[in-house]
């Protein structure tokens, strides 16, 4: 379950504050995933005291509103990423950045689809009932990333697809590229050993829309933790 409390001393009207929170939630907490289960309790409450002495923000289109929105986005993204980083059993944070769509919401949908993909983060061996992760297994499998982008429900031309893992380009103009497999695998391994961040970049066209989503790898410990946990 996700719970969050946000506070600010900015002076802002109720209508604007509620819209700001929704926008920030869509750019942060609604863009993380650990295990694909939507809780019955997810809640973020945001309180604005108005005690900073700042001018009252009553329009979403004002410059001050954009400044406050950026701060709110930053705080909520920072917290959201730390939740994905601390995902049960996780050894690394996965950050997916999608560019080239027409709208932010389209990029967000593709990014979340990739971050949520159990094939990208893991594939389940039915025979042994154990989990082997593409990320956890340090396997730079671009096909799984392309697959998850493709079923997100946002149309794009496959020939526009470009996928990078860290600094390594795995696919460009829809074609897989020769790449240093050892270096790419080492990048994943290093992130896992240091509980660091795996950065996946996906471009699907020439539009101005971009968004990010965050997840984590799926390790054996996830199953262990949830087998033992009860309330």
């Amino acid at each position: 379950t996700l719970l969050g409390v946000i506070t600010t001393d900015a002076l802002v009207t109720s209508d604007v504050w509620r819209k700001m929170l929704l926008t920030a939630a869509n750019r942060s907490f609604n863009q993380i995933t650990v295990d694909g289960d939507t809780s019955t309790n997810d809640t973020v409450i945001a309180l604005a005291s108005g005690l900073s002495g700042s001018t009252k923000i009553s329009s979403l289109n004002s410059y001050e509103a954009k400044q406050l929105q950026a701060c709110l986005d930053a705080v909520m993204q920072g917290l959201a990423k730390s939740i994905a980083w601390d995902g049960e059993g996780a050894t690394c944070l996965i950050e997916v950045t999608v560019t080239g769509t027409n709208y932010e919401a389209e990029a967000a949908k593709i990014a979340r689809s990739v971050a949520s993909s159990s094939l990208a983060k893991a594939f389940n061996s039915l025979l042994s009932l154990t989990f082997f992760a593409a990320i956890y297994g340090r396997d730079p499998n671009w096909g799984r990333l392309a697959c998850a982008a493709g079923y997100a429900g946002i149309a794009f031309h496959p020939n526009d697809l470009r996928i990078s893992l860290g600094d390594t380009i795995l696919m460009d103009k829809g074609q897989p590229l020769p790449f240093d497999r050892a270096a790419a695998s080492s990048y994943l391994k290093r992130a896992g050993e240091t509980h660091g961040t795996v950065k996946i970049s996906i471009c699907v066209g020439n539009g101005q829309g971009w968004a990010q989503a965050w997840g984590c790898d799926l390790s054996y410990d996830y199953v262990k933790i949830n087998a033992e946990y009860t309330t």
Binding site: T1, L2, L3, G4, V5, I6, T7, T8, D9, A10, V12, S14, W17, M20, L21, L22, A25, F29, N30, V34, D35, D37, T38, S39, T40, N41, D42, T43, V44, I45, A46, L47, A48, S49, G50, L51, S52, G53, S54, T55, I57, E64, Q67, A70, C71, A74, V75, Q77, G78, L79, K81, S82, I83, D86, G87, L93, T197, I225, Y229, T231
Partner: protein
């Protein structure tokens, strides 16, 4: 990226779990300590109220505002919403302001039916029984606008989390210095779809 300054704090709450590294996006803001208490007018505290089945990690958090704060919320869109979610949604439907948020850990409160909702009403009106009721006076007395208050609240809302999550930034907005802070918990059952 930067680490939360609370990571090095030696306050009581850090005995239980360390603070998370907070990966703040780059921007014109400056990170400041305190999390939810960084902004003017807010106090917070976390304490052990005997709600957890195991251990004595803080399990009850309270965040208050000295004035009526403009309040907003986003909630799970899961049809089977827990009683506290229903309560908070109703409250924000009827009122634009709030003075406090009370959060507990260690007690499952989803799919608890009418009895669960009644528990929420009783908690919110401070007439709950046993552990929660006995803890509330101490909780309120311990409210603090210090960094420790914010840190202890961030620990008190955790469940299976291995680290607490708390951060605040300061930035110039409309010619004045404004602070935005927050705390969160979450480790498993994470695929939010809130509105």
């Amino acid at each position: 990226s930067s680490s939360s300054s609370s990571m090095t704090s030696l306050d009581q709450s850090s005995k239980y779990i360390p603070a998370a590294p907070i990966l703040l996006p780059q921007g014109p803001w400056k990170e400041v300590p305190g999390g939810v208490i960084a902004a003017k007018g807010f106090k917070a505290v976390g304490m052990y109220g005997g709600l957890r089945a195991k251990g004595e990690k803080p399990d009850l958090a309270l965040v208050t505002c000295d004035v009526d704060a403009i309040a907003a919320g986003v909630f799970t869109t899961n049809v089977v919403a827990a009683a506290p979610v229903i309560y908070c949604k109703k409250t924000l439907d009827n009122c634009n302001t709030a003075r406090a948020v009370l959060i507990n850990a260690g007690q499952a409160n989803a799919a608890t039916g009418d009895a669960g909702y009644q528990d929420v009403i009783e908690c919110a009106t401070s007439v709950a029984k046993e552990a929660l009721l006995h803890s509330l006076p101490k909780l309120i007395d311990s409210l603090s606008s210090t960094i420790d208050g914010g840190d202890s609240a961030a620990v008190a809302i955790t469940t299976t989390d291995l680290v607490s999550k708390s951060v605040a930034v300061e930035c110039e907005v409309g010619g004045a210095l404004v602070r935005v802070g927050g705390m969160a918990k979450g480790s498993g059952m994470i695929h939010p779809n809130m509105a």
